[in-house]
């Protein structure tokens, strides 16, 4: 009886891949339709709009002379450095805030206040204080990913099921064991969601930071292209930003699935 009800749950779990392959087909159809509409708009003569083929040719050109790769690497380096620093600091601080009421009381006003300021609004201040080199850009990205990860981690710790903590406690677990063996794994899903949000906001912040002052990077390249009315390059830049953002998000999603496979999906 009980075994049957356990087994009957598996087909529902198996349905997922089939559904996603159907969704994938629909996604591809949508992309093709989008390209056709774009081509039509460009040929009908929307002022200055390049066709997909022109953009592809431009992309080939930028790839061939190494510009695109250099720009993408420059942007990725900034975003990953800022994101890693932000996350590495956010996780311990989030745990502190969730676990110790004193730490929460001291840190929460700052976290909640800075969270309401868009990181982009910090850029003018960062440039004045830190110059126009790499530091202010990485700092702004750091701030963006720190703030989303810290709130998620903190929330994850606060939301840990109290019964799980009691279950560990009655088995004789010390506070230290409860923290390491219960609180940390139980809040992992929250942390990973926070990291994904953080990466998204870091990526968005990066391009804006590069628009202001940079010598290379995808944002800088688009800024240059704007001066020369070079729409193809702008399109290449936009697509590269989108594709890289999507790839990074999917990688984190994959890690999330791997690490939190144990979660009951409701």
């Amino acid at each position: 009886m009980t075994q049957l009800s356990a087994l009957s749950k598996t087909p529902a779990a198996r349905r997922e891949p089939r559904r996603s392959s159907r969704a994938l087909t629909l996604n591809l159809i949508a992309v093709v339709i989008g390209l056709v509409v774009w081509t039509l708009l460009a040929t009908v003569g929307v002022q200055g709009l390049p066709t997909p083929l022109q953009v592809a040719a431009k992309a080939g050109e930028l790839i061939a002379d190494g510009t695109l790769l250099d720009d993408a690497l420059a942007s990725l380096r900034r975003v990953l450095l800022g994101f890693l620093l932000g996350t590495l600091l956010a996780i311990p601080i989030g745990f502190l805030m969730g676990w110790y009421a004193t730490a929460r009381g001291l840190l929460e006003p700052y976290v909640q206040f800075f969270r309401t300021i868009p990181p982009l609004a910090i850029i003018p201040l960062a440039i004045v204080l830190m110059g126009i080199g790499e530091v202010p850009k990485v700092f702004v990205i750091f701030l963006a990913s720190f703030l989303s990860s810290v709130v998620a981690t903190f929330q994850g710790v606060v939301d840990v099921d109290k019964t799980l903590i009691n279950a560990a406690r009655v088995l004789g677990a010390s506070d230290r064991t409860i923290f390491l063996k219960v609180v940390v794994p139980a809040s992992t899903p929250f942390i990973l969601v926070g990291m994904r949000v953080g990466l998204g906001s870091a990526w968005g912040t990066l391009v804006a930071a590069e628009l202001i002052a940079a010598q290379e990077g995808l944002g800088f390249r688009m800024q240059q292209a704007q001066l020369y009315y070079d729409l193809s390059t702008i399109f290449v830049g936009l697509i590269a930003i989108g594709v890289l953002g999507l790839v990074m998000d999917r990688l984190l999603l994959l890690a999330e699935r791997r690490l939190t496979n144990w979660q009951e999906r409701r």
């Binding site: 009691n166 063996k181 144990w262």
Partner: protein
């Protein structure tokens, strides 16, 4: 028989906006060694609070809770607790869940493994030892939680409405299984429930509690021999005791 758990004049109050809320009002109860006691009562009668005190998760406002004559110092592996909501660690397999308490005892790996196997076998989950909780049904989850409590070999089992969330059939199966293991390795059991049938079927004594303020209304002896059987459930004697308990729970005089 010697006394295993002893509640002496236990009071528990919670501060409210105005005045205090009395969850337990001078409750005294002795539970003998290896006795199976069920506690039944309407919601808000403080039955779970009483059990949590024996577990060391809640402290009495006044009065004493003694285990083996010593005041409860806090939670400990000598008293296994089983929660209504299973409280399995969802990221651990059945085996790892059962081994959780054993690891804290710092047992050697092979001893740990052996005791976990034994506990898992006892509750009939051997085929699911490497499954994650999310793949188990409610009844299997609760059996895993019971195995986790058994594994550390506690002398006392504290069960807080453990079968409350299960369907009727699974509940009866788990009741029989619980009695079965209890008769093999007798421990002291304090079992909280709101199900009168369950209370009578399992226990040697049924403690009936009343609400507002939480107190003991009466204690009903169940003079039915173990092992309990299905026929006993249908016997006139069972019906008589059941009626007595039912009356105690649902026709309580209003407190002043």
């Amino acid at each position: 028989m010697s006394t295993k758990i002893s509640f002496k004049n236990v009071v528990k109050t919670y501060p409210m906006k105005e005045g205090t809320f009395t969850a337990l009002d001078h409750v005294s109860l002795d539970i003998a060694d290896r006795e199976f006691v069920t506690v039944v009562g309407p919601s808000g009668c403080g039955k779970s609070t009483l059990m949590s005190m024996a577990a060391g998760l809640v402290e009495p406002t006044s009065g004493e809770v003694l285990v083996d004559g010593v005041p409860v110092p806090g939670p400990g592996p000598d008293r296994g607790v089983i929660f209504q909501q299973y409280a399995l660690f969802p990221w651990l397999t059945v085996r790892k869940n059962v081994e959780f308490g054993l690891k804290l005892m710092e047992l050697p790996a092979d001893e740990r493994r052996r005791r976990a196997e034994h506990a898992i076998e006892l509750v009939g989950l051997s085929d699911f030892a490497d499954a994650l909780p999310k793949t188990l049904s409610g009844g299997m989850k609760q059996r895993c939680a019971i195995a986790r409590a058994y594994a550390v070999n506690p002398q006392v089992l504290l069960m807080d409405e453990p079968f409350g969330a299960l369907d009727a059939l699974t509940r009866v199966q788990l009741q029989d299984q619980l009695l079965d293991t209890w008769s093999q390795e007798q421990r002291t059991v304090m079992f909280i429930t709101h199900d009168v049938d369950e209370a009578v079927y399992l226990a040697r004594r049924v403690v009936v509690m009343a609400a507002r303020p939480g107190r003991i209304q009466q204690i009903v002896d169940v003079d039915l021999p173990y092992p309990r059987t299905e026929e006993m459930r249908l016997s006139p004697e069972f019906a008589r005791i059941r009626n007595e308990v039912w009356h105690g729970v649902y026709h309580q005089p209003q407190a002043a």
